[in-house]
């Protein structure tokens, strides 16, 4: 009897010890190791795809935001500054989430031609081969990819239109801008205060779904899921230019037919304006605050080991 009791007591003590240990170890915050990079200020999801020049044994490919101190007109990536708090490793073919763990420093902010530091910083998402395996781009490491359809803008405080490079007020923080931005340019005065009878931004299969004068946009430099009713510029002779719309100029380096100069898009001031009840997925479009228009929420990719062509942020109308 005594033996049974002492064995039970030992089991009880062991169980108590383990329970106490587990309880002790379960208290508090989780400690972090070197893999922890901080709290993300912003995140951006994107796809990846392999280009035609994929090498056999590439070095690790990283993607980062590269800021252009020269502002919206700076296109040379070698002059841009990498935000190390945005660097992430790219797996070709896998979706990529870029977390932004730090804010751009002052030297990354755009400057006026006179050298004055402006209230915003603009960046491109570029990928490079990290030959030195140090997690940062060094001189001589090649750029091997770009998220070409988008540029990124950061402003610490809300930016009024007169100070914004897009000529539209921008909220504080990071903003993804679909290129090219109109930057206040318009091809011609509107001939109709409304949308010329075209349901701009609605889903479509063919142009007939959009009404007279309308077109069904399926692809520019990125796909327009479920179709997007638009009016193209130049409009036909005597055609209608909608006043209640915003303009997306023809993107550089895109498969858009050469005869098209621009698209008239659905105007928006909030995400609700881009809601499309007819879509099975009602989250396909979002409001681009730089354009003031509804554009695809997703669909851009980084094409790796293809041409790295950096488009202007502001459109250059023909």
């Amino acid at each position: 009897m005594a033996t049974v009791r002492s064995a039970a007591a030992r089991r009880g003590a062991t169980a108590g010890l383990l329970a106490g240990a587990a309880l002790l170890a379960g208290c508090g915050d989780g400690i972090v190791d070197r893999g922890f990079r901080g709290v993300a200020f912003w995140s951006y999801d994107i796809g990846t795809e392999a280009g035609a020049q994929l090498p056999e044994n590439p070095a690790p490919v990283r993607a980062s935001l590269f800021f252009a101190p020269g502002g919206v007109d700076q296109l040379d990536p070698e002059q841009m500054i990498e935000l190390s708090g945005s660097t992430t490793t790219v797996e070709t073919g896998a979706p990529l989430r870029m977390d932004i763990f730090e804010l751009p420093s002052r030297e990354m902010f755009a400057r006026s031609p006179s050298g004055q530091v402006l209230d915003y910083a603009v960046a491109r998402m570029l990928a490079y081969e990290d030959i030195t395996f140090d997690g940062h781009r060094q001189k001589g490491e090649y750029f091997v990819g770009i998220n070409a359809p988008y540029a990124f803008l950061y402003t610490p405080t809300a930016l009024p239109a007169e100070k914004s490079p897009t000529a539209r007020a921008l909220p504080a923080g990071f903003t993804a801008l679909l290129l090219p931005q109109s930057c206040g340019q318009k091809p011609a005065p509107a001939t109709d205060p409304d949308t010329c009878g075209v349901s701009l931004g609605s889903g479509c299969r063919t142009a007939q779904d959009c009404g007279t004068g309308g077109s069904c946009l399926r692809e520019t430099q990125l796909g327009w899921p479920a179709g997007y009713c638009t009016i193209t510029e130049p409009v036909a002779s005597g055609g209608c230019r909608p006043g209640k719309s915003e303009i997306l100029y023809r993107p550089e380096y895109s498969p858009v037919p050469a005869e098209i100069d621009a698209y008239y898009l659905r105007r928006c001031t909030s995400e609700e304006d881009c809601d499309r009840p007819e879509d099975r997925d009602r989250d396909l479009y979002s409001c681009d605050v730089g354009l003031g228009a509804c554009v695809p929420r997703r669909g851009s990719t980084i094409s790796l080991f293809g041409p790295v062509e950096i488009a202007s942020i502001c459109a250059k109308p023909r």
Partner: protein
């Protein structure tokens, strides 16, 4: 385990109410002046009475007769009492004792009438007694009668030593307060005359025997005192005052390790005199040799080897004290503050052997505790260790640790507590987000030591509760500080080497497992937490100080 297992030499319950007893007259002459080398006058008579048997219903004593023999031996060898003036009465009844005293009184009276000179009478009794009488093998010798016998003795100086329960009744000391320092000394050189009585306990106390000492506490320490342990001033002679003071202190110390304290008492009425010298242990003689001890300390002297019969357990208050012992081979153990030193001493043809010139073996107290020997049941110690622990968090690498520990060496194992601190800096994988982690651990350790000749090995387990604080430096990145608790367990392996006294050097190593709460990360971002185990290692070293 008390160092000196003991038992009362008599039963307290059977004693009649204490009654104030008359002062015994014990005659003694032979007061020695300070300049005399000889201890006692030539005509000193000694009656030593040892009775293991008292009344029929009393527990038979084991060592009372041996006490009497030891007392006779030391006074014959160190006090120079002639053999023909010694009466050793072992297991005799009251009539025999009575006749012996009468016979000596008659002899003294005859000599005094022929030629007056200094004489002394010493009576030593070890055995059963109560407040009224000595118990002598079924017979009784009332104290009233003894008083008559000794007061009628013509000896000029009388000393009566009684080692029995409640013997304090004869000195009229009932309480347990310390008596004033014992001094029989006057400035003039006239001879002493009077009576001194020393008892082994107060009127309300038991007197105890010890199997370890093979005698009663009181008699054992009195004999040691006369061998030289009580020679406070180092003049080679032991006075009555020195002997009493030493015996009082040592009897109290020894009985303090048992359940009942025992306070020797005294009474005296002496006129004239210089110092009353009982033995000249420091001067040696043909039958004994002298052992010069080391620093003032406690010494255990046994016959032949450690497990031999205990000859003396004594405590010296003076460095380099000299003890007179019969010639022979002895095991001597000096119990210092930090260690035991064990010697083998051979007292042979040379007059004196110096312990400090002999080789010795050193034994620390913690080792003694683990051997379940010595006087202490535990040894306490502090440690300060610097250590390195293997990587716990990716990126931290091995981390420096500092720990402050307390431990108690117990007979079967060593139990310890340890407070550990650690700090380490960390950078995120991309070189940013500097942070510092602080770890505070409180652990309990159970260790088992194996003592070898030059060092000790230890192995055991350590259970630790850990507080973690992770602090992020202000910078371009944002992260909130983190606090959590964790649990650790380790298997300790250690080696210790004594450096100096209680100071040792300890080196230890351990595999450790930590159960802690960790963040689950996805591409540098925290997406949750989990509780997981990390295996690591620990290696450290530093001083250990045993108190």
């Amino acid at each position: 385990m008390p160092w000196l297992p003991s038992r009362p030499a008599c039963s307290a319950l059977r004693w009649p109410p204490v009654r104030m007893l008359l002062v015994l007259g014990v005659l003694l002459t032979g007061l020695l002046s300070a300049g005399r080398a000889r201890a006692l006058p030539e005509e000193t008579w000694l009656i030593a009475i040892g009775n293991n048997s008292g009344d029929a219903d009393e527990v038979r004593l084991l060592y009372a007769e041996r006490d009497a023999r030891e007392f006779v031996d030391v006074l014959r060898s160190q006090g120079s009492i002639a053999s023909d003036r010694v009466r050793l009465l072992i297991d005799e009844n009251a009539d025999t004792v009575r006749r012996a005293i009468l016979s000596i009184n008659t002899a003294l009276r005859a000599r005094a009438e022929a030629q007056p000179h200094s004489t002394a009478l010493l009576i030593f009794y070890s055995g059963h007694a109560d407040a009224d009488a000595l118990h002598l093998r079924g017979s009784r010798l009332p104290f009233e009668e003894i008083r008559g016998l000794v007061t009628s003795s013509p000896a000029t100086m009388r000393l009566f030593v009684i080692d029995a329960c409640r013997s304090g009744t004869v000195t009229r000391v009932k309480g347990i307060s310390r008596a004033p320092e014992f001094t029989i000394k006057v400035e003039s050189r006239i001879e002493a005359e009077g009576t001194a009585i020393i008892s082994s306990s107060t009127a309300g106390e038991s007197s105890q025997e010890s199997d370890r000492l093979r005698g009663s506490f009181f008699s054992h320490h009195l004999v040691n005192a006369l061998r030289g342990a009580a020679d406070r001033n180092g003049d080679g002679r032991v006075t009555l005052g020195e002997a009493y003071d030493y015996t009082y202190a040592q009897t109290l110390r020894s009985s303090g390790q048992t359940l009942a304290l025992q306070h020797p008492t005294y009474w005296f009425d002496v006129k004239g005199s210089g110092e009353l010298v009982l033995t000249t242990a420091g001067e040696g003689n043909r039958s004994s040799s002298r052992l010069r001890l080391g620093p003032a300390s406690m010494y255990l002297i046994a016959e032949e080897r450690e497990t031999g019969a205990v000859v003396a357990e004594l405590s010296t208050t003076r460095d380099r004290a000299v003890i007179a012992l019969p010639r022979g081979r002895y095991f001597v153990q000096r119990r210092g503050s930090y260690e035991y030193r064990e010697y083998q001493a051979v007292l042979g043809s040379t007059d004196e052997v110096d312990l400090e010139q002999l080789p010795y073996r050193s034994l620390r107290y913690d080792q003694l505790v683990r051997k379940r020997g010595g006087v202490r049941s535990s040894v306490h110690g502090l440690s300060l260790l610097a250590a390195v622990r293997g990587q716990v968090l990716d990126g931290e690498g091995p981390t420096p640790n500092l720990s402050l520990g307390y431990h108690a060496d117990l007979p079967w194992l060593t139990v310890g507590l340890r407070l550990r601190g650690m700090t380490a800096s960390l950078l995120a994988i991309d070189g940013a987000l500097p942070s510092r982690r602080y770890e505070l651990g409180l652990s309990m350790m159970l260790q088992r030591y194996v003592d070898l000749q030059w060092f000790s090995l230890a192995f055991g387990v350590e259970l630790e509760g850990i507080y973690n604080a992770q602090r992020f430096m202000p910078g371009v990145r944002s992260a909130s500080n983190r606090d959590s608790l964790a649990f650790g367990v380790g298997a300790l392996f250690a080696i210790e080497r004594q450096l100096y006294r209680g100071l040792s050097l300890r080196l230890e190593a351990a595999p450790k497992a930590l159960l802690q709460r960790r963040a689950v990360l996805d591409l540098g971002r925290e997406i949750g937490t989990e509780t997981g185990t990390t295996l690591t290692w620990w290696i450290g070293g530093g001083p250990v100080w045993r108190l």
